[in-house]
């Protein structure tokens, strides 16, 4: 129990963040993290002793999130359009010319599998090998998804900025570009 507190407790803020970006729903994400922590407590003894706790906990959370998302797509849960726009809202800051809101919208245009890789690697600082274990995919797949995610995110935010450049009148909704 003591090692669980030491290893898992510090992960909770990152777990909340990962769940919230995937679900785009603050309360739903915290519910998911709670589910995840309950499973972690129940299965702690089943964990591989030599395995990394962070990878193990993230994989539990990721699998729960995918189950939740596939259920919501079937209409059992909140529809994604109703998802909390403010869920990941931060004070609007202009950083590197990219608005927070545009970035979040661009992130939403990524397919789920690319978004997961990008978040685990770029935001949660998992190594490529750890991300591969969390997602249960080969490391080569992690790299190709990461590459596609970054290309697509770049194109999406660049397109958003171009549209905004001659901005007068209502702000255009982000258009997807080929």
């Amino acid at each position: 129990m003591k090692d669980m507190m030491l290893l898992v407790e510090p992960l909770i803020p990152a777990l909340r963040r990962y769940a919230r970006v995937l679900l785009r729903d603050r309360a739903g994400a915290d519910d998911l993290v709670q589910d995840c922590l309950e499973r972690v407590v129940a299965r702690w003894h089943q964990r591989r002793a030599d395995g990394d706790a962070r990878t193990w906990v993230f994989s539990i959370l990721h699998n729960l999130a995918m189950t939740r998302l596939s259920r919501s797509r079937r209409g059992w849960h909140v529809a994604l359009e109703d998802a909390d726009e403010a869920a990941t809202a931060a004070p609007p800051t202009q950083e590197h010319g990219v608005m927070h809101k545009d970035l979040m919208r661009a992130l939403d245009t990524l397919p789920e599998e690319q978004r997961s890789v990008l978040l685990l690697v770029s935001v949660e600082d998992l190594s490529y090998a750890e991300a591969a274990r969390v997602l249960n995919i080969p490391i080569g797949t992690v790299m190709s998804r990461l590459s596609r995610a970054r290309e697509k995110l770049l194109r999406a935010t660049e397109a958003a900025m171009e549209e905004k450049a001659p901005a007068t009148g209502p702000r255009p909704w982000l258009r997807r570009v080929k």
Binding site: I12, A42, Q46, R71, H96, V98, L103, N136
Partner: protein
């Protein structure tokens, strides 16, 4: 210098600050010589920083009390204590859940009627799922590649021809299986997984009672499942997944068992044909 060509993977590792100093130097030299690539890599690196700073505040929020690990542990322990008091049966179920199944079942014998029939089958399937499906080192004794050996072994021990259900049409790969012990004798445990790592277990054993029972759903803690019995053989399919997603899988297993049952009793069909009961 290592002289290795710079790859796309190197560029991403550079963006993620995951390169060792030597390789990083090589990538920097490459970027100096290729301004177009440099521009793209710099834009991606800037985007990575923007994403991190945009999402940093979420991780800095105070953690709500429902997500306190100490509280979750405490809640679980008090559920356990309250579960222990009311009946020996549920206490035994709780013990089964942590993998001390055999011992728990033994203690339960003297004080409450042990579950039998389909009810027992459900508990056995859940307990075996908890132990074996969660195992990352050796979930199965014989792997999918040794299917024939597994089928021969299991059929011999169960004294009944058993075929491995095929769930590949539903996206579940056969991982392998093993013989497991239950209070009602030997049983076969087959494990499957899908691309997301969800594992499904199918427990099969001969039934002394309730040998023909319609399919019904069951739930043991976080696990959902379906159990039924047909011509003296009981089946329970369990997984840590929504119950509705398991129903088609259970139907699939039942249909296949039907076909196998029919095929293994060709002589019986022949005799029915001779008696003109079947066309």
């Amino acid at each position: 210098m290592t002289g290795r060509p710079i790859t796309e993977d190197d560029l991403h590792a550079y963006i993620d600050e995951a390169l060792d100093p030597t390789r990083r130097g090589e990538v920097l030299a490459y970027l100096d010589a290729h301004p177009e690539v440099e521009r793209r890599v710099a834009a991606m690196a800037a985007q990575r920083r923007a994403l991190r700073s945009a999402l940093a505040p979420v991780a800095e929020e105070p953690v709500p009390p429902e997500l306190s690990l100490a509280r979750i542990i405490e809640a679980r322990q008090s559920r356990w204590r309250s579960r222990w008091v009311p009946t020996w049966r549920s206490a035994a179920a709780a013990v089964l859940m942590v993998g001390l199944g055999g011992i728990g079942g033994w203690f339960a014998r003297g004080t409450a009627p042990a579950a039998s029939g389909i009810a027992a089958l459900k508990e056995e399937a859940a307990a075996n799922y908890q132990v074996y499906a969660a195992d990352h080192i050796r979930p199965v004794e014989l792997r999918a590649g040794d299917r024939e050996e597994l089928v021969t072994w299991i059929s011999q021990r169960l004294k009944h021809p058993v075929a491995v259900p095929d769930l590949s049409r539903s996206g579940y790969r056969f991982m392998g299986g093993r013989l497991v012990a239950t209070p009602h004798g030997a049983a076969a445990l087959f494990l499957y997984d899908d691309d997301r790592g969800t594992r499904v277990a199918v427990l099969v054993r001969p039934m002394e009672v309730e040998g023909d029972t319609p399919m019904s759903p069951h739930r043991e803690g976080p696990l959902a499942g379906y159990a039924w019995a047909d011509r003296g053989i009981g089946y329970s399919l369990v997984a840590d997944a929504p119950s509705a997603s398991l129903h088609p899988l259970a139907n699939e297993v039942r249909q296949q068992a039907d076909r196998v049952g029919a095929a293994s009793s060709i002589s019986a069909i022949d005799s029915l044909k001779r008696k003109r009961i079947l066309p």
